[in-house]
Symmetry: C2
Subunit: 689 residues, 2 copies
């Protein structure tokens, strides 16, 4: 990336308190008419010449057959193009001499499966666009790509000439949402599916049950929700509607019913299936609990048989997830009958008992014509080969599974509540280049799943934890392994983030609204945003350790409205890089001015937030941070001044500033600063003079 484009990129975002953005760089930096903002990156892109303008004469036709899912997808695409370009478009789909021709070989599929061929080709010439796919679901992916191709040329909206030949690297590209710890109402589910479709994710793994809530209606066992859900659950009618919506967007729904552990909420209404007879209540706190199904009684399997049968009828996908994680065995050991059973059956440990349970459950799943997914723990040497392993432990346990002949998907690096940067998660690969697996074994790694656990999120904040980071991971699962340029990913992710915002995802607007609640007014919120934009939440574990978060903890605090990997992290890095290394004097000056404005806003933020916190005591959750930011602003300003004047600061001052940076690097007030490395770079550079 050249420095002009570095500045241009930056220009779009950093400066919120001034207008120093040098927009004239924008065009100068474009080396080609094609501005690639595709995400995920297709497997093959070849540039043509010219472009098709989007005018009101833009028309569409199918070449051959189509179905209602494809029609609806095309209409959504036209709506999107229409809104983006402010051009009314005909929704007639059988135009003569159409601009866009769509040709799909097989339109019989009405829902995707693991085996669905998702390949598509998209060929744009100067006067025609051809989208070809084997299946409707491949064509839907092509339509998403088409929307991402829209750009501006000479003041017109166009689709540039390009040949794209695209298919996913992995067939299982999932996103898991925990709706047990905090219930997520239907609007969250629907907008999540919209976001997934936009970035070509194809499995929504619905973590429907856990200790803290049983979220799916069972007509056979209504006590499960009447006692275990606080009234917060999805009806079967609602689930059917969600499945239809997802199917029409090429997304499979894989439900999870986590057994034999994590079942406290089941046992509130149905304690007879617990390993220990006690009075169960919905768990309000988080952790690994003792409550577990009794694997030694036939009644347990009769119950599971009926329940799995009911759910198998409700959820049409070929896969059911039966959990299996974090069963601690405590209640099994506490029940003499279970211990006796283990002895009688020559089981040496509760692990053996869990293997026995898993095997029985797998048989039930088979009887209902489904295949089973489970977490790492279900993998033992005796695990049947068709069980699919989801690894929360790491790529290594997936390798173990593959060597044993079991298929697997990777989740360990993609836990969003770790609050890691998109960059760190993005570089973790389900099949790293140094893998020791054979080609055949590699084929057993089906892909990965991003996981959003819900201990510390609410419907208002969930999107800010999920997006846009999940879009980066969608690229990891879809695009070739060598698509690993982090800075290019961030450049495209910024664009995609705004697209997702336009789809109704609330990753930007949710935290903004939260800041207004904290600060009491629109302008006060923008003051607070100066501080909050420099922070990210600490990881789930760190927050849990400090806060002992429970299901009952109020979740409308400052930390809840910080965003993981906020845009400023990459923006500031780029800006400092542009300032220090730009070969163009104008760019250097522009970067300096922008840095000065930014640092000055940090300096000013302190007193205004101090004043604000008198009326809004909740802001005292950031007392330390709001004292630190002005110091960091001063550090930045002073470093700039030293660099500009070629005068090294006093060593004592440098020591002092290093100490400021060191203190600021602590996890404090449930937050981390994301701005420290570029500041260190500026300080170090100043010290060299």
């Amino acid at each position: 990336m050249n420095h002009a484009s570095t500045l241009r990129h930056h220009c779009a975002r950093v400066i919120v308190s001034g207008t120093l953005c040098f927009m004239t760089h924008i065009l100068a930096a474009q080396s080609s008419n094609f501005k690639n903002t595709l995400l995920p990156q297709p497997s093959k892109v070849a540039l043509g010449s010219g472009a098709i303008p989007i005018t009101k004469n833009f028309t569409v036709s199918f070449n051959g057959t189509h179905n209602t899912i494809l029609e609806a997808g095309v209409r959504r695409t036209l709506d999107s193009l229409e809104t983006e370009t402010d051009t009314p478009l005909s929704k007639e789909l059988q135009a003569v001499n159409p601009t866009l021709v769509i040709q799909v070989q097989d339109v019989t599929g009405t829902r995707p499966t693991l085996e669905t061929d998702e390949t598509y080709t998209l060929s744009v010439s100067k006067d025609k666009i051809t989208l070809q796919a084997h299946t409707v679901f491949g064509a839907l992916h092509g339509l998403q790509t088409l929307q991402q191709l829209v750009q501006v040329e000479d003041g017109r909206y166009v689709i540039p000439a390009v040949d794209i030949n695209d298919s996913p690297r992995f067939p299982w590209r999932g996103f898991m949402l925990d709706v047990s710890r905090h219930f997520m109402p239907l609007p969250v589910i629907y907008r999540t599916l919209d976001g997934m479709a936009a970035v070509k994710l194809n499995v929504f793994h619905w973590h429907l049950t856990d200790d803290q809530g049983f979220r799916i209606e069972s007509k056979l066992f209504p006590l499960l929700t009447s006692k275990g859900s606080d009234g917060l659950f999805y009806t079967q009618d609602q689930v059917r509607a969600v499945i239809a919506y997802a199917s029409a967007r090429g997304i499979r729904i894989v439900p999870e019913f986590d057994v034999p552990g994590h079942v406290t909420s089941w046992l509130v209404g149905m304690p007879q299936f617990g390993s220990v007879r006690r009075s169960y209540e919905i768990s309000r706190t988080f952790g690994v609990w003792d409550g577990a199904l009794d694997p030694t009684r036939e009644s347990t399997y009769q119950f599971l048989d009926a329940f799995i049968g009911e759910m198998s009828a409700l959820f049409p996908d070929d896969y059911l997830h039966l959990g299996g994680d974090e069963s601690n065995g405590a209640d099994w050991k506490a029940n003499p009958a279970i211990v006796a059973y283990m002895h009688a059956h020559n089981m040496k440990s509760t692990d053996d008992l869990q293997t026995y349970f898993s095997t029985r459950v797998l048989t039930l799943v088979h009887q209902h014509h489904k295949q089973m997914v489970g977490w790492d723990e279900i993998l033992t040497p005796g695990t049947p080969k068709d069980a699919l392993i989801q690894s929360w432990r790491g790529v290594e346990s997936l390798a173990v599974a593959a060597k044993q002949g079991n298929r697997g998907i990777l989740s360990a690096p993609y836990y969003l509540d770790g609050m890691k940067s998109a960059e760190r998660m993005y570089l973790d690969d389900p099949i790293p280049s140094n893998t020791t697996l054979t080609a055949a074994e590699q084929k057993l790694i089906l892909g990965g799943e991003v996981c959003m656990w819900a201990e510390q999120i609410t419907p208002q904040t969930v999107d800010s934890r999920v997006w846009p980071r999940t879009a980066a991971l969608a690229e990891r699962f879809w695009s070739p392994r060598d698509t690993r340029d982090v800075h290019d990913m961030y450049r495209r992710l910024e664009v995609e983030s705004i697209r997702l915002d336009g789809l109704g995802l609330s990753h930007i607007s949710g935290p903004e609204s939260g800041l207004r609640q904290l600060a009491g007014s629109e302008a006060a919120a923008s003051q607070l945003a100066v501080l909050v934009s420099t922070l990210s939440p600490v990881s789930f574990g760190d927050r849990y350790n400090q806060q002992k978060t429970s299901q009952l903890t109020p979740m409308g605090n400052a930390v809840d409205y910080t965003r993981p990997d906020p845009p400023l992290r990459e923006d500031l890095r780029l800006l400092v890089e542009g300032y220090l290394h730009s070969s163009s004097p104008a760019d250097h000056i522009a970067a300096r001015k922008q840095l000065q404005t930014l640092f000055q806003s940090w300096v000013s933020s302190g007193s205004s937030l101090d004043a604000l916190s008198i009326e809004h005591p909740k802001l005292n959750q950031l007392t330390l941070r709001r004292a630190q930011l002005p110091k960091l602003g001063q550090l930045g300003l002073q470093s700039l001044a030293s660099i500009e004047s070629h005068t090294a600061p006093a060593p004592a001052w440098i020591d002092e500033q290093n100490s400021v940076l060191k203190t600021a690097a602590d996890h404090s007030e449930l937050t981390d600063f994301v701005i420290l490395p570029p500041l260190q770079q500026l300080l170090d550079t100043a010290g060299l003079h």
Copy 2:
């Protein structure tokens, strides 16, 4: 309002591009511990001394009976207090020695009616809060007031000692939403109900049918939606859920099925009931169409009887709205059989025929044990006394109705698509102080309804048209007639706007997201916001005349993300008033600095938006405005300079600036500037020197 508080008010909002806000004024300006932000204003408020802090020991109990609606309302209140104060609160509702005691006389009601007693008293002493009401629905209002009372004192969240004795001025406080011209999905409906409950509105008038779409499932006549809705309608199950949700918040649902005109969407599937046999299609454009039910055939009434019967069973409220507006009679005159019928029955005009129709429909409504609401047009000398008239024409036609013995509700001044300021609508009273109605006649005026027609709104923009202006009108309908202090209303409305934002209304976040779509990034959107914050959309009529808006017009344009009566209008007025008339030199200087910063941001906005529009041609929708704003900024800066230096500007310059203001006052690019009067004031003041 004293000037210190003027500045304080301003401080919260205007300055988005600097940090010049003098927060130290905040406390100094508080003359009492009680900061009244109640909206609507209760009928009687008496201040006590002291306050109850909200701590984790805050508890609740019922004194006497309660029901599930009340319990749920209390839990919502506790959730709100918990989030606002970051204090975990017990949800146990039978505490011993409770902080809050709730006593309701009659808990048998499970849905509100027009006759429901909504009175409540709320008494807060230093150590106890007592909420008393005759009905559950009165108690729900009291709980809303309680939430609005929370404030900060000495760094703690408290509820100040106060005695409130409150009941509504009018029993019918409605909000009408048109879901036909643009369909509004369920999340819009639910959040609208949340907003209504927050400001004590109690009738959701659901305009379910019109020429452009039939939005309610009929199981008897499925062709109505299968042909007339584009698939966008509410199922009866969904409607039942909405009614339950509304009832639990003290809100009645009054559905409207508009007949005999505005029925094009009905006739697409059921042309046999039209007055003229033709092929009907869903109207895509707006206006008054010829399509009308045939009032001369018995089959029409048989159909309506069945349909009204079905809807009467679905909607439990005592009232059904049957429209009756804007039937132009053209199709009636075009059908010889209808003309012959009129002759045979001695009807002199199509008005007579409409009266006949209305009377027949009213009879059907009665047969289904309902009362009828209709628009002005149903009122003729022969209209039965129990028909309720909703006036879109004005307070005069309501007076005519009342003199004739008909009850009425006023809507004419409260059409949100007129884009008038909250102030203008707020001052329009259903029973003006100069009314000529007798006391008995006045009793027939039941209240009013705010109306949101949907020609030019989408789910993304609807809230920005509805809120917070509707909250001001809720006060008009609830509070005593003499509650008319516009500036105090705006002060409280600002606070309420943020509360509504916290409830999930998108009046702030929707337009913000829209600006990001237009500008392509978060920071570019904040540049665009400098301009957009100075603009409001022109009225429906002006926009229609310029744009010929249809249902198919893309609605993601700059004008869609301007807000009617945006906060800056009142803020700038206050700021200039503070600058020109403050008796405190410090306040004067603070106001000047804030004005300078604001004007400077206007000056800078021009070039940054010009640059931005190269990549985002949709911004050229505001080409004129973005050229005008910098000139207005210069006008402001120069006027300030003249005033400060006590030097009158050259007369030629003043003429030129007056001409700038005059040009800026034109309706242009579908927008109006809201900042002109204070600028004129500054310019005039400068000229006096």
